[in-house]
Amino acid sequence: MVFPAKKVLRYIFALFFIVSLNFFLPRAMPGDPVINLLGEDFIAGKEAVEKIREELGLNRPILVQYASYWKNLLRFDFGYSYHFRARVSSLIISRLKWTFILVAPSLILGTIIGALAGSLAGWKRKSKGNTFSFLFFLFIYCSPPFFISLLLLYFFGFRLGLFPLKGFYTTGNWIDILKHLFLPVLIMTLFSASRNYMVMRGSVLQEKEKLYVWYARAKGHLEDSILFQHVFKNASLPVITLFALDFGFLFSGALFIEIVFSLNGMGTLIYQSILSRDYPVLQGTFLTISFMVIIANYLTDWIYNWIDPRVRANR
């Protein structure tokens, strides 16, 4: 029990450090949230600006603001958004719901497709099908997300008219939602799959040279059975790490895809908050992401223990 307790302590320390960083990092950026609040063509006297600063509590010494930030946080109060004019917690919850619907299926599908296709590509490297799949996933892997998004939107949305160009829905029924989400989910799945494909392919290439593979072969096991019963499990450890990382960042949304498809997700929330220097939203969203990354890491450790006896043995 000592070891997990140590680990929990380490995670608590990481969380404290992150929470503090979340406070200081946005404030380290040049820019003034108050002037941003005025809008492009509103003109004000300098006294009026100072008054707004006072109302927002931004005129207080930085350490006083930091103490108040901690105090609010311990009451689970993320504060109030200057730009979105709403409680940060309700903003994050409303955006998280749709981000989750967009990102979670892509993550799961991308991991399954990438891991399976990657393991096959690593196992039978020289087959025509695997050469093609390698080139395809390499192309996706190297392409900027906005480029692929615009390309697919142009062909399937604009040219063929099969899918809508924007939003999570128009009417709101589930077929309508599926139609709207098809392209964004497809694109995110492709990117997730390409990452997993590359990792899995490399991992299988390493594993297949190991002695236990030769031993299984000598015992007369079929190739497919060696791959999926023995090699796959050992080769999938880096994919689990990648999944955990992606899971943590699931809550940061998918900025480029959200911009191309005009989706109201976490990505655009963070982006707009950075542009407008909306400190409370930045603090709240970064904290959510950090928290999820920490949980994901903890779960990865746990899964590693469960899946790999070598890790258990080293404890």
Partner: protein
């Protein structure tokens, strides 16, 4: 076999008949105008969001408006009076206005709106500080008494929407208030729904509207985060027109839309403009001779062609575009490289060490820091190229918008390319004075002029409602710009709005473009 064919024919006939019947029925449905806009609404708050208040100008019309000729006239107010000392303004309310829930619009609503704005809207602090008293006079008038003369209140109130007192007085925390459902309005249309996940704002006809009956039944504003995708949506027919506050449809996409044969374009010369600003607090920008020489180094026809694709006019030294009320004709800005070089030499900026860079009056190579916002990179690159042609080195400092604001407020730059909006050109003293007056601040405000002559002109404009005097001062401000060149207009651009030819009767105004009540009540679907 023949019987089968007959049966098939009957079935087909029935299907086609039903189809035509459905088509006929759908033709009988209300006409929907779909507007595509990249002005993303963040929250369903009619007062505090960046763009929803602009869209709500037709559902909650402000007391005043700018007409198509660019003059401020009454809108929800039918008559506006001002006392001779400019401290008391009386707004006589249009008595045929009704909220979409059937209640009459009353002077109490106007009083509530003004008090609400003064109390709650951070950028309307001037109203809170300046307003001495607000009272209701007779059955339909509201009187605003200010502590000191206020000459532009009719103009300033053209951007604040009228709010129904019986709804908003119950709102406990107006800044957090978000109503994605029905927002009661008193214009020809009211907001039925704000669905940000669908990216659609739906506006329906106000059943109690007594003015000119709109021909279109419903307006849908479709929000797009990406202008290129919005252009595709126009081409595909997902939306009928385009609206972006204070901006044109991207010039580079116009030809593509023209080729579809389904679009026409409303063209209006913008009141706002793109310009090169100097930090007058630093040398050599504080030297008039230097600025004058720079004004001849810029290739205006080329920048208009490359950046504006010739959708605009060549600018004059007086800065203010000729589309603005009380425009004063000054000398056109011209590109004359030889003159620019000669003027720089005469002013003492010479390249004595022959390294290709001129030295300032202290003998150091001139290296200007140009602050560049993401939206102005191409324009800035052109300016850098022009200045380097006359031996002035320019270092571009690319920053995001917030950093740009912070650095320009700290005067941490030498030159920058930026823009004015129509509203920005009109506020404060008007004619762009808000951007230069050192006593003001704001996102786009440069506050670089503290010359008492200029400040005197601004104060003059701020203290009179006499049309003759205003015209005279407006001309003097433009002369001041022409004589001192605190900034250089790069070109006067057109606001181009594409629209589906199925709709006619477009009436843009210089402030909000096509987004005004007169436009929407006049629009007709012709096919």
């Amino acid at each position: 076999m023949i019987q089968h064919k007959k049966k098939i024919a009957i079935v087909l006939l029935t299907v086609f008949s039903l189809f035509f019947l459905m088509t006929f029925v759908s033709h009988g449905e209300e006409v929907v105008l779909r507007i595509g806009s990249p002005n993303m609404v963040s929250t369903a708050n009619l007062v505090f969001d960046d763009y929803l208040p602009v869209f709500a100008h037709i559902s909650n019309p402000p007391l005043t408006k700018m007409n198509t000729e660019g003059q401020i006239v009454g809108q929800s107010a039918k008559l506006i009076e001002v006392s001779s000392d400019n401290t008391t303004w009386t707004f006589h309310l249009n008595d045929s206005l009704y909220w979409s829930d059937g209640q009459k619009v009353t002077p109490q609503d106007v009083k509530f709106t003004i008090e609400f704005i003064a109390q709650n809207v951070p950028w309307a602090g001037w109203l809170k500080e300046g307003l001495q008293d607000i009272s209701i006079q007779g059955p339909n008038a509201v009187v605003l008494k200010f502590k000191k003369p206020h000459t532009q209140i009719n103009r300033d109130l053209s951007s604040y929407n009228l709010l129904p007192k019986h709804i908003w007085e119950k709102v406990e925390s107006p800044q957090d208030y978000s109503n994605p459902g029905e927002n009661i309005g008193c214009g020809p249309f009211y907001i039925k729904k704000v669905d940000l996940n669908a990216g659609i704002i739906t506006m329906e006809k106000n059943p109690y509207w007594k003015g000119q009956t709109p021909q279109i039944g419903k307006i849908e504003i479709h929000l797009y985060n990406n202008v290129d995708v919005l252009s595709l949506a126009l081409e595909k027919g997902d939306v009928d027109t385009y609206y972006r506050y204070a901006s044109s449809y991207p010039y580079q996409n116009i030809e593509r839309l023209k080729k579809t044969g389904r679009f026409d374009f409303v063209e209006k010369l913008n009141i706002g403009l793109y310009f090169l600003a100097f930090n007058l607090k630093r040398t050599p920008m504080s030297d008039f001779k230097f600025r004058e020489a720079i004004s001849y180094a810029i290739n205006y026809p080329e920048i208009l062609k490359l950046d504006g694709l010739d959708y605009g006019n060549l600018p004059a030294r007086g800065f203010v575009p000729n589309s603005m009320d009380h425009f004063f004709e000054t000398e056109l800005l011209t590109y004359d490289l030889e003159k620019a070089n000669r003027l720089l030499g005469e002013a003492g900026y010479i390249d004595s060490d022959k390294n290709g860079i001129r030295e300032d009056l202290a003998g150091k190579d001139i290296n200007l820091t140009m602050l560049v916002e993401p939206d102005y990179v191409r324009r800035s690159e052109l300016i850098k190229y022009y200045l380097e042609e006359v031996g002035i080195k320019v270092t571009m400092k690319n920053v995001d918008e917030s950093t740009w604001i912070a650095l320009k407020d700290q005067y941490e730059y030498d030159i920058t390319v930026t823009r004015t909006t129509p509203w920005g050109m009109m506020v404060h003293g008007g004619w762009g004075t808000a951007y230069f007056d050192s006593r003001r601040t704001g996102e786009g405000v440069l506050h670089i002029i503290d010359d008492p002559i200029f400040l005197g002109l601004v104060d003059g404009l701020l203290s009179t409602t006499d049309p003759g005097k205003i015209k005279e001062l407006a001309h003097s401000v433009q002369s001041y710009y022409a004589e001192n060149i605190p900034a250089i207009a790069l070109y006067w651009n057109m606001i181009i709005t594409p629209f589906n030819r199925e709709f006619t009767g477009w009436q843009p105004d210089p402030l909000f473009g096509i987004y005004n009540i007169d436009n929407f009540v006049n629009l007709k679907k012709v096919f």
